[in-house]
C-alpha cells in the first residue's frame, strides 16, 4: 500500500493524482491476491441469486426457494445479479443452475471475486469525489500529510470493507460507493443528484434505511426551505414547493422503477416478507457488539447469580439459554424479552436528538453527515437482528469527519478500532488468521499515526480510552491463541465470542454516546470536552 508513504515517498512533487492512483491500484491488486482466500456462505448466497435471476422469469424471483438462501435484497440488486449472470455465462454456465447447490468451481470463484473487485471501481470514484469535498487548511504540506491523502487511505484501505467484501464475500464496495457519492453530491450542493443516488441505493440494499431519516430531514430542511432566519431557525415562508415536488418525483420514479413490476404482479407483500424477516432472533448467532449484547450479558449474569443464591428455579430456565451464542433465539431469563417493536422504539428515541438538531440547528452538509452517522450507529446499537458488518455503515462516513476535527478523530479511532476488531469472528479459519491480524494492524497503525500527525497539537484519546483500546490486544490473544488450547474449549465454546462481543459493545456504546453529544450544539459540546 502506497500508504506506507512509500508510494508517495517521492510523490510529493507530482501532486495528489499519482498518490491517489497508486493507492487505488495497490488496494485493487491486494484484493486480487485474496482471490484464493476463504469465503463464507455468502458466496453461495450470491451464486444462488445469479442462478435464480438468470434462469427464472421475474415473477418467480421472490418465490423461488430451492436453496435456503432465498433472494432477500430489493429488486435493483436482483437486476444487478441478472446483469452479472450474463458475464458469468462466459466463465462457467454451470454456476447458473439453481439445482447446483454449493457449486464453486475455480472459474466460479474467479468470476465472483472479480465481480466484486470490478464493481469497486464505483467506490474508488466515490472516494475520489469525497476527497474533493474536504477543504485543505494549509497548503504546502507534504502530500502524505494532507487530509485528502489520509482520507483516501482510510476509505480505500478500510480494513472492514476489505475483509467483508474480499474475504468473507459480499458486494458492499459499490453500495458504499453509491452512498459516499450521494454524500459528496450533497456537499457539492447537487441535492437532487444526491437524493437520486440515495433512492437507487435504497433499492439495492434496504439496510441503508438506517440512515434515511438523516437524508429526509436534511433535504427537507436545507433544500426545500431556501432561507434561514438570522438566528438560524427555519423561515417557514421560504418553503419552495417545486423543490419538494422535484424530490418527491425522483424518489417515486426510482421506487416505481424498482418495485413497479412487482406491484403490477401483486407480489409486494411477498417481497416485504422476504426483506424484513422478523422471525429471526433479536441477535445474530454471533452477537453484534451493540446494546442488546450488553443486555443479554447482563441477563446471563443475573441468571447465574440467581442460580447461585437459589433465587431462581433451575427448572424454569429454558435450556437454550445455557448455550447462548450458539443458537439464534436467545431467551432471556431474568430481564424482559425484547420485541421488534421495542427495538424500533429504542432506535427512534436514540436518533431523535440528533434529528432535532439537524432541523433546528442545521450546520450545513457536515451537520448532515454527523446526523447520518448518529442514525447509522443508533440503528446498529438498538436494531433488531443486526449483523456485526453493519458497523461499516457508521465507520466509513465517519472517516470523512475524522480528518476535520481532532475530537471527531478521537471518536473515529475508538469506533473504528473497536468496530473492526468486532469483525474478527467473521474470519475463523486458520490460514486467514495472519491476514486479518496483519491487515488490522496495518490499518490501525496507519490511522493512529496519520491522524496524530494531522492534529499535532491535540490529544486525540484520553488515558481510559487508550487503555481500553490496548486491551483489545490481550483479548485477542486470550480468545484465539490461548483459549482453544485450554480444556474449557469443549465445555464453553461460546466464551471467546461472548467476551469479544461484550468488550466491543462497551467501546461502541461509548463512541455512540460521545458522537451523539457532539451533535448537540453549543455548551453541550463544552461539557463533553470537560468529561
Amino acid at each position: 500500500m502506497a500508504a506506507s508513504g512509500a508510494a508517495a515517498g517521492g510523490g510529493g512533487r507530482s501532486g495528489g493524482g499519482l498518490g491517489f492512483l497508486s493507492l487505488a491500484l495497490g488496494v485493487s491488486l491486494l484484493k486480487c491476491l485474496l482471490v484464493p482466500a476463504y469465503y463464507s456462505t455468502d458466496f453461495e448466497v450470491h451464486r444462488n441469486w445469479l442462478a435464480i435471476t438468470h434462469s427464472l422469469p421475474v415473477s418467480q424471483w421472490y418465490y423461488e426457494a430451492t436453496s435456503e438462501w432465498t433472494l432477500d435484497y430489493p429488486p435493483f440488486f436482483a437486476w444487478f445479479e441478472y446483469a452479472l449472470s450474463h458475464i458469468a455465462k462466459v466463465f462457467d454456465p454451470e454456476m447458473l443452475n439453481i439445482q447446483n447447490l454449493n457449486y464453486a468451481s475455480p472459474r466460479t470463484v474467479l468470476f465472483q471475486r472479480f465481480s466484486v473487485i470490478f464493481t469497486d471501481v464505483l467506490f474508488i470514484y466515490a472516494v475520489y469525489e469525497c476527497c474533493k469535498c474536504i477543504e485543505e487548511k494549509k497548503a504546502g504540506k507534504e502530500l502524505t500529510e494532507k487530509p485528502t491523502f489520509i482520507l483516501s487511505v482510510l476509505l480505500l484501505w478500510n480494513f472492514g470493507l476489505l475483509i467483508v467484501d474480499h474475504i468473507h464475500f459480499q458486494y458492499n464496495g459499490f453500495l458504499f460507493g453509491l452512498m459516499l457519492l450521494s454524500i459528496a453530491r450533497l456537499f457539492q450542493k447537487r441535492h437532487l443528484e444526491g437524493a437520486f443516488l440515495f433512492a437507487i441505493l435504497l433499492n439495492f440494499k434496504h439496510i441503508y434505511l438506517y440512515v434515511a431519516p438523516a437524508y429526509g430531514i436534511y433535504l427537507l430542511r436545507s433544500y426545500c426551505f431556501t432561507e434561514d432566519k438570522p438566528d438560524g431557525s427555519v423561515r417557514w415562508s421560504s418553503f419552495s414547493f417545486h423543490r419538494l415536488i422535484a424530490l418527491g418525483f425522483i424518489v417515486c420514479f426510482v421506487s416505481a422503477l424498482s418495485l413497479g413490476p412487482f406491484i403490477a404482479l401483486n407480489q409486494l407483500p411477498q417481497i416485504v416478507s422476504r426483506l424484513f424477516p422478523f422471525k429471526r432472533g433479536l441477535c445474530h448467532a454471533y452477537w453484534a457488539p451493540n446494546f442488546w449484547a450488553l443486555y443479554n450479558a447482563l441477563d446471563k449474569m443475573l441468571s447465574i447469580i440467581g442460580l447461585k443464591f437459589n433465587l431462581l428455579d433451575p427448572k424454569k430456565i429454558p435450556k437454550a439459554s445455557m448455550t447462548s451464542g450458539l443458537v439464534q433465539q436467545f431467551q432471556h431469563t431474568v430481564l424482559p424479552s425484547v420485541t421488534p417493536l421495542a427495538t424500533l422504539l429504542c432506535t427512534v428515541i436514540a436518533m431523535l436528538p440528533s434529528i432535532f438538531c439537524l432541523w433546528f440547528k442545521p450546520q450545513g452538509p457536515r451537520g448532515f453527515l454527523r446526523c447520518l452517522i448518529v442514525c447509522a450507529l443508533s440503528s446498529f446499537m438498538f436494531g433488531w437482528h443486526v449483523h456485526e458488518k453493519a458497523i461499516l455503515l457508521a465507520i466509513l462516513p465517519m472517516s470523512l469527519l475524522s480528518v476535520g476535527k481532532p475530537q471527531d478523530a478521537g471518536i473515529y479511532l475508538l469506533l473504528t478500532t473497536t468496530g473492526h476488531y468486532s469483525l474478527f469472528p467473521l474470519l475463523f479459519t486458520a490460514p486467514e488468521f495472519p491476514i486479518k491480524v496483519l491487515l488490522m494492524l496495518l490499518f490501525t497503525v496507519y490511522s493512529f499515526s496519520s491522524l496524530k500527525t494531522l492534529f499535532r497539537k491535540e490529544k486525540l484519546l484520553n488515558w481510559i480510552e487508550t487503555i481500553y483500546l490496548i486491551g483489545l490486544g490481550p483479548l485477542e490473544i486470550c480468545c484465539e491463541l490461548v483459549f482453544p488450547f485450554t480444556p474449557w474449549k469443549l465445555k464453553y465454546p461460546f466464551v471467546p465470542l461472548f467476551l469479544t462481543s461484550v468488550y466491543c459493545a462497551a467501546g461502541i456504546t461509548y463512541a455512540w454516546f460521545r458522537l451523539s453529544i457532539s451533535m448537540l450544539p453549543g455548551p453541550a459540546v463544552g461539557k463533553a470536552k470537560l468529561q
Binding site: 500508504a3 508510494a7 497508486s22 491488486l29 491486494l30 491476491l33 485474496l34 490460514p431 496495518l442 496507519y446
Partner: protein, 507 residues
C-alpha cells in the same frame, strides 16, 4: 526515529502480501510420485529427524537419494531438523519415516508456510529494515520507500511463499553480511556470510565480491600492520564458522567428500530445464549440450565465468569502495548466473538481492532488472499455478517503484550514473551521448514484449510441434536482458560515478 510508523506500515504491507501469496498452491501439489520442492523440504525434515547425522547424505534403504536426497549444506539440514521437532510436536504423521511420503493436508500446508514466515521474520525482514535505515545520503522518505519496494520484490515472494523454498534465510544472512561489512563490522559480517554459504551453496555467487572487498580493505590498511591483523581475524572467523557447521561431517573424510559430491553435482550437465542463462539460450541455436563432452562443457563454462568476473573483481580489490562493492555483487552474481555450470532458474534471486540494495541509487535500471528477473521465472511459476499471484505481485511492485521513485523522471546520464563513462567515450568519439530517451523506449518495448509473452504463456496453447515455445521464448528474452544488464553493471564498476563528479569539479 520519527518515521517509525511509516516503516511499520511498509513492513506490515510486505508481510500481508507474503501471507496472501502463501494462500496459493505450492510446487508439486497433488502431483505424485515426485511432487515438488514442498515435498523435498518435508522429506528433509523426515530424514534429518529419523536418521543419524552420518546417514543424511548417504544413499541407504531408509534414504533414497533419488527421491529428493539432501543436496544443500549442513545448515539447511539443521534447519529442517529444527522444523521437524516442531512438526513432531504438532503431528508426528507429518515426518514419520517412509509412511509420510507425499503427505499433504491443509494443516500441514499451514505449518510449512508458517515456518517460512517465521524464518523470514527473523532473518530477512529485519535485515532489510536495518539496511534501509542505515542508507547514507538518503532522505527518510527514500529509506522507507526502499524498504517498502525491497520487501515487495515479487521474485523472492513467489518462490518462497508460492513455490516453496527458504531463500529468505540464505539471502537474509547474505544481507546481514553486507550490512556488517559496510559498517566496518567485518568479523560479524563474514560470520553471517559463512552462515549464508552453509545454508545454500549458491551463495558462492556472492563470495568473490566479499573476498575481494575484504582483501582490498586489508591491502588498503597495509599488509604489514592493521591489515594483516584484520586478515588473520577474518580467516579465523571463516575457518571457525565452517568447522562448526561441518563438525558432524568432519570426522571422516568420506563423509565430507560425500556432502561435497551432493552439493556440486558436476555430472548433471551444463544446465537442466529451461534457464534464462547464456548456455541454455545458446543451446537453442547450437545444440551444445549434446555436441560437447561433459568435460569440455565444464571447462568452457569455467573459463567464460572467470573471464566475465575478472574486471569487476580486479577493480574492486584495487580500489575498494562500498558503492563498487554493491555493484560488484550484482555483476559477479549475474556472471555466475549467465555462464556457470548447473544453474537453476531460481538462482536469479541471488542477483536480485544486490540489485534490490541499489534500488535507490539507480531506480530505473534496478526496477527494470527486478521485473525481468521475476519474468524469467514465469514458466516455473505457471507450473505451480501461480499465474494470478505472479501477475498481481509484479504489477504491485511496479506500481510501488514507479510511485516511490518516479523512475521515469529520472532517466538521464547523471541518474543512470553513466556520466564518467560517457565522458570517457567522448574523449575518443566526440559528440557521444547516452541515449537516455531511447532507453525509455526500450523499456516500454521490453515491458510490452514481456506482457505479451506472459499473456501468451498463460492463455494460449503452444503449437503441437513446439510444446516448449513459450518457455524458450521467455528464456531467450530474459537472457538478452541479462546480458545487457551485465554490460551496464560492469560499466558502472569500471567508470565510477564518483570519479566523474570529481572530474567535473576539477574542470
Amino acid at each position: 526515529m520519527k518515521e517509525w510508523p511509516s516503516m511499520t506500515v511498509a513492513v506490515l504491507v510486505g508481510l500481508t502480501v507474503r501471507w496472501a501469496v502463501s494462500l496459493n498452491s505450492y510446487s508439486g501439489a497433488g502431483k505424485p510420485p515426485m511432487f515438488g520442492d514442498y515435498e523435498a523440504q518435508r522429506h528433509w525434515q523426515e530424514i534429518t529427524f529419523n536418521l543419524p547425522v552420518k546417514q543424511w547424505y548417504f544413499n541407504s534403504s531408509d534414504n533414497n537419494l533419488q527421491y529428493w536426497g539432501l543436496d544443500y549444506p549442513p545448515l539447511t539440514a539443521y534447519h529442517s531438523l529444527l522444523c521437524a521437532y516442531v512438526a513432531e510436536f504438532i503431528n508426528p504423521d507429518w515426518i514419520a519415516l517412509h509412511t509420510s511420503r507425499g503427505y499433504e493436508s491443509d494443516q500441514h500446508k499451514l505449518f510449512m508456510r508458517s515456518t517460512v514466515l517465521i524464518a523470514d521474520l527473523m532473518i530477512y525482514v529485519p535485515a532489510v529494515v536495518l539496511y534501509c535505515c542505515y542508507l547514507k545520503e538518503t532522505s527518510t522518505k527514500k529509506k522507507i520507500a526502499s524498504a517498502f519496494c525491497i520487501l515487495l520484490y515479487p521474485g523472492l515472494l513467489l518462490i518462497d511463499y508460492g513455490h516453496f523454498q527458504y531463500n529468505c534465510v540464505s539471502l537474509g544472512f547474505a544481507l546481514w553480511a553486507v550490512l556488517g561489512v559496510s559498517h566496518d563490522w567485518d568479523v560479524p559480517g563474514s560470520l553471517a556470510f559463512c552462515l549464508a554459504i552453509n545454508y545454500k551453496q549458491m551463495e558462492l555467487y556472492h563470495s568473490l565480491p566479499f573476498f575481494c572487498f575484504l582483501l582490498g580493505k586489508c591491502l588498503k590498511k597495509g599488509l604489514k600492520g592493521k591489515g594483516l591483523l584484520l586478515l588473520i581475524k577474518l580467516m579465523a572467523t571463516v575457518v571457525a564458522t565452517f568447522a562448526l557447521c561441518w563438525l558432524p561431517f568432519c570426522t571422516q573424510g568420506e563423509q565430507t567428500l560425500q556432502v561435497l559430491r551432493r552439493l556440486f553435482p558436476v555430472g548433471r550437465g551444463i544446465f537442466e530445464d529451461k534457464v534464462a542463462n547464456f548456455w541454455c539460450s545458446l543451446n537453442v541455436l547450437l545444440k551444445i549440450k549434446s555436441r560437447l563432452s561433459s568435460h569440455t562443457q565444464l571447462m568452457l563454462s569455467f573459463a567464460l565465468t572467470l573471464l566475465s568476473l575478472l574486471p569487476a573483481c580486479v577493480k574492486l580489490t584495487l580500489q575498494p569502495s562500498l558503492r563498487r562493492f554493491r555493484h560488484s555483487l550484482v555483476a559477479c552474481a549475474l556472471s555466475f548466473f549467465l555462464f556457470s555450470f548447473q544453474v537453476h532458474e531460481k538462482s536469479i534471486l541471488l542477483v536480485s538481492l544486490p540489485v534490490c540494495l541499489i534500488l535507490n541509487e539507480v531506480p530505473f535500471m534496478s526496477t527494470w532488472f527486478l521485473i525481468v528477473s521475476t519474468f524469467s521465472m514465469l514458466p516455473l511459476l505457471l507450473k505451480d499455478q501461480l499465474a494470478l499471484a505472479s501477475v498481481v505481485t509484479t504489477l504491485g511492485f511496479s506500481v510501488a517503484c514507479v510511485a516511490s521513485f518516479l523512475i521515469f523522471e529520472n532517466v538521464s546520464e547523471e541518474e543512470l550514473q553513466l556520466k564518467a563513462f560517457s565522458m570517457y567515450v567522448r574523449r575518443h568519439v566526440p559528440g557521444f551521448k547516452i541515449p537516455a530517451k531511447m532507453l525509455k523506449t526500450w523499456f516500454a518495448v521490453s515491458m510490452m514484449t514481456m506482457s505479451l509473452l506472459s499473456l501468451g504463456s498463460i492463455t494460449m496453447e503452444p503449437p503441437r510441434r513446439l510444446p516448449d515455445l513459450f518457455p524458450v521464448l521467455v528464456c531467450l528474452v530474459s537472457c538478452l536482458h541479462f546480458l545487457f544488464f551485465l554490460i551496464y553493471f560492469n560499466v558502472l564498476i569500471l567508470w565510477d560515478h564518483r570519479n566523474g563528479r570529481n572530474q567535473k569539479k576539477v574542470s
